[in-house]
Amino acid sequence: MFHSILEKMDRVFHFDEASAHCDIPCGIYDPHLAQLAALTVIRMVDLMTELDQAPKVENLTYHNSMARYIAVKEEHAELCKREIRVIWGDYIKAEHLEKYPELHGLVHKIMQLGSKARQSSDRETALELLAAVNQFAEIFWATKGIATKRVKAPYKPGEEVVYPAL
């Protein structure tokens, strides 16, 4: 009912429009966001551990900080999974799978590790997630014929990340 009233009003007043803009498939894919998200998961686990081992702070402050770290870890583990899913679903083609038959298994592993990273506060799991995403990034750039290099991220947690050697 409201919609039909607004439709009638629109014919008279011509409301402005808000665009839920959808891109033309543009071919812009990059695993970088997934890598940053995986690094963030490690960082959040480190911050959670530091907080837990720090001299006792006031209870409410502790819970507030811990809740924030956990929320960011959740969000970035999910973001990591999503970014990989998009590249896998939209960019990876049959010819890539022929050349890199391990891709399906690797993506599945990233999905599992992403979920495990959400469920736990285990640093090893977070490191495994980054390692798997880095491996995915190497394959991704290889499909484009672009060599890669491994460099330590210049910020905490300072783990190795795969970059295209441009």
């Binding site: 409301f15 429009e17 665009s19 803009h21 891109d23």
Partner: protein, 99 residues
């Protein structure tokens, strides 16, 4: 204070469809109450007035990360975070009925 806008584009489907209407509160105070999941309307050059869903809020930096639900959505993944000054307002009422 309030605006009625008509939605076009598909990037928020199936939640928000082209032809839906949204009522937007333009009070600056609402910026501090934004949370992930909120629909916001903002100005982004060169695309004009856009509507997306808040993914992350950084009150310290005064930034928002916004996303669409469609895989091909043009959003913060391509144009980066929004500054608060880009915001027009928060959607407080979404009237469905578009196609």
């Amino acid at each position: 204070m309030f605006k009625i806008l008509k939605v076009r584009g598909h990037s928020l489907q199936p939640d928000v469809r082209p032809g839906d209407f949204v009522v937007v509160a333009c009070t600056p105070l609402l910026r501090r109450s934004l949370r992930p999941g909120d629909l916001v309307v903002f100005q982004r050059k060169p695309y004009g007035v856009m509507i997306k869903r808040v993914h992350r809020v950084d009150n310290d930096q005064g930034e928002l990360f916004v996303l669409g639900t469609d895989e091909d959505s043009l959003d913060s993944r391509s144009f980066g975070a929004l500054r608060y000054r880009d915001l027009i307002g928060k959607v407080i009422w979404h009237v469905r009925g578009g196609v």
